[in-house]
Each structure stands twice: as structure tokens, then as C-alpha cells.
Amino acid sequence: MKISRQPILEALLLIAAAAALGFGYTFVTKQGFFSKENPALSASAANLEMITLEKAKEFYESREALFIDSRHDFEYKMGHIHGSISIALNEFDTHRSQLGDIPKDKILIVYCDGIECNSSLELAMKLMELRYVNVKIFFGGWQEWKTHNYPVDYQ
């Protein structure tokens, strides 16, 4: 059976054109690969580990990690992961004293509202600058934790 090469060539042409268009467009608009604000890429570049809900729950149950809420104070008071502390990104300088005597190798899990917010990433980077070496980001954040009815506190 002879297979025509034309559809394969056409498919390759479409894929190559899509790649050229995609990379060209994101380069010109400074998005995706070429964005400095792509949270996933920034976290990857900073060697910050992004953890899933399951992993976050494991850390919670083993009590190995300290959860840090990077949202505004009022959001924290309306509900947060049980046992977490609040270090609102917008008031980092006044809240950082809460880090107190926490060892630099302690596992810190930073979260914000959910997948759409960036404050957990920015706070995690600030913590890295303070030489905390085990900083992780729980990108699912408060929304994912709450949706699964995991332990929460209201204050």
C-alpha cells in the first residue's frame, strides 16, 4: 500500500507555521516564554517547587511544614488553612517579624487565593532572598484547599 506523503507534508507545514506564528506573536507581545511575569516560568527559573494539593495535604498531616498565607490580612481573617500564618505580601516588611526564629531549612509552603494569583510566588521569592532554602508554592491555594473541605480556621 502506498501512503501519500502529501498530507504529512501539509501537517508539518501547518505545525511549523503555527510554531513560527506562536513564538513570533509571544515574542512581540512579551507573553508566554518571553514574559517576565509568567508565574509558572518564574517559579521554575527561581528553582521554586510547585506542589499539588495532595502533596500540600501530606505536608500538612506530617506537620513538617509551615504554611504561609500571602493574601491580604482581611482575606486571611475570612478563612485560611489551619495552622497557617499570615504574611501579606503588601505588608511584608511589617509582617516578616512573624518568621522569628524559624530555621532557614524549615519547609515553608506559601499560598495565595488560587491559580490566578501571583502573591505566593512573589512572597516565595522574598523568602528565598532571606535565605530560606525550602520554600515551596502551593498554587492551588486557598480555593482548592477549601473546595476539598480540608481543615481551615476562621479568625
Binding site: 501519500s4 502529501q6 498530507p7 501539509e10 501537517a11 507545514l13 501547518l14 505545525i15 507555521a17 503555527a18 510554531a19 506564528l21 506562536g22 513564538f23 506573536y25 509571544t26 507573553q31 508566554g32 516564554f33 514574559s35 511575569e37 509568567n38 508565574p39 509558572a40 516560568l41 517559579a43 521554575s44 510547585m50 499539588t52 488560587g114 491559580i115 490566578e116 498554587f139 473546595t147
Partner: protein, 161 residues
């Protein structure tokens, strides 16, 4: 029945619909590749690098295949690619549902609260896959720009006449 299934006007309408859906679905992804990257990561199947690469290329591929299908340029190849994409999307949705993920599908909007995945999404995709398979099998795309391009082989169905 066979004449209905191979009716050139019907095939043309199916082609325009499928192509139009892909063009529309590409627009929101093109507008915000960062949000689309996060939508892909939400499925927890691929890593950051592959998700970002996919978010860079996939919207353009959807746009080109959609336009190609609407204009009738390489209709069979673009239908094949669209059908393959739909099969992959459906596998992602089924996998996410089986793992109990409550996420937005990221298909037409990157808003995390819009268009959540569910069994209706699978049925919707299966419907489009059937449209694609139908076009490929009948190999008749109605009015197509391809007739204005020199072709040695592979001129779809009725366009040879």
C-alpha cells in the same frame, strides 16, 4: 440516507462550523498565553516547560487549522489535525475527571470559574470528533479554495469532477 451524509452543502456547513469553533477557541488563548499555561498545568499531566510550549504553539495551530478548514485550503489535513487535537483534549478531560479535579477546561475562556470540565464536555468533544471523522471518511468538503491551487494528487472527492 447516503446522499444526505454526502450532501456537499451539509459537508460545507459542517466544515465551517468545526473550523469556526477552532478559530473562536483560539482567540482567548492567544490573548493570554500565561493564563492558558496555568489552565494546562491545572490538569497536572505535563510540566511547566511543556505546558508553556503548548500554550505558545497550540492556539496558533487551532487558528491556522480552523482558518484552513473554513477556507478549504488543505481541508483533509486540517480536519485530521483538528480531530487529533480533540482526541487529546478529551483524554485530558477524562483523566482529570477520573482524578476528581474540579477545574476549568481552558477551552474557550481562561477564567478558572468558567466552563468547568464535566461529562457534558466529553460529549461535546465526541460530537466534534464525529464531525471530523465524518468529513475525513466522506472526503468531500464542498466549496473549497483548494480548487484554485495546482494539485497532482489528493484532490478531495467532488473537487476532482
Amino acid at each position: 440516507m447516503k446522499s444526505v451524509l454526502t450532501n456537499p452543502i451539509l459537508m460545507f456547513l459542517v466544515r465551517i462550523s468545526l473550523g469556526g469553533i477552532f478559530v473562536i477557541s483560539s482567540l482567548d488563548k492567544l490573548a493570554d498565553p500565561g493564563a492558558f499555561t496555568m489552565s494546562i498545568l491545572n490538569y497536572k499531566i505535563v510540566g511547566t516547560l511543556l505546558a508553556t510550549t503548548t500554550a505558545t504553539i497550540l492556539p496558533s495551530l487551532e487558528l491556522l487549522c480552523g482558518l484552513s478548514l473554513i477556507l478549504g485550503l488543505y481541508p483533509r489535513t486540517s480536519t485530521l489535525l483538528i480531530t487529533l487535537m480533540l482526541i487529546v483534549f478529551t483524554v485530558f478531560v477524562i483523566s482529570a475527571l477520573l482524578r476528581g479535579l474540579d477545574i476549568s477546561c481552558g477551552c474557550f475562556s481562561q477564567d478558572p470559574d468558567v466552563n468547568k470540565i464535566g461529562y457534558s464536555k466529553i460529549l461535546e468533544n465526541i460530537g466534534m470528533i464525529l464531525m471530523g471523522v465524518w468529513l475525513i471518511c466522506v472526503n468531500n468538503y464542498g466549496i473549497a479554495l483548494i480548487r484554485f491551487f495546482p494539485q497532482k494528487n489528493n484532490i478531495p472527492g467532488d473537487l476532482k469532477k
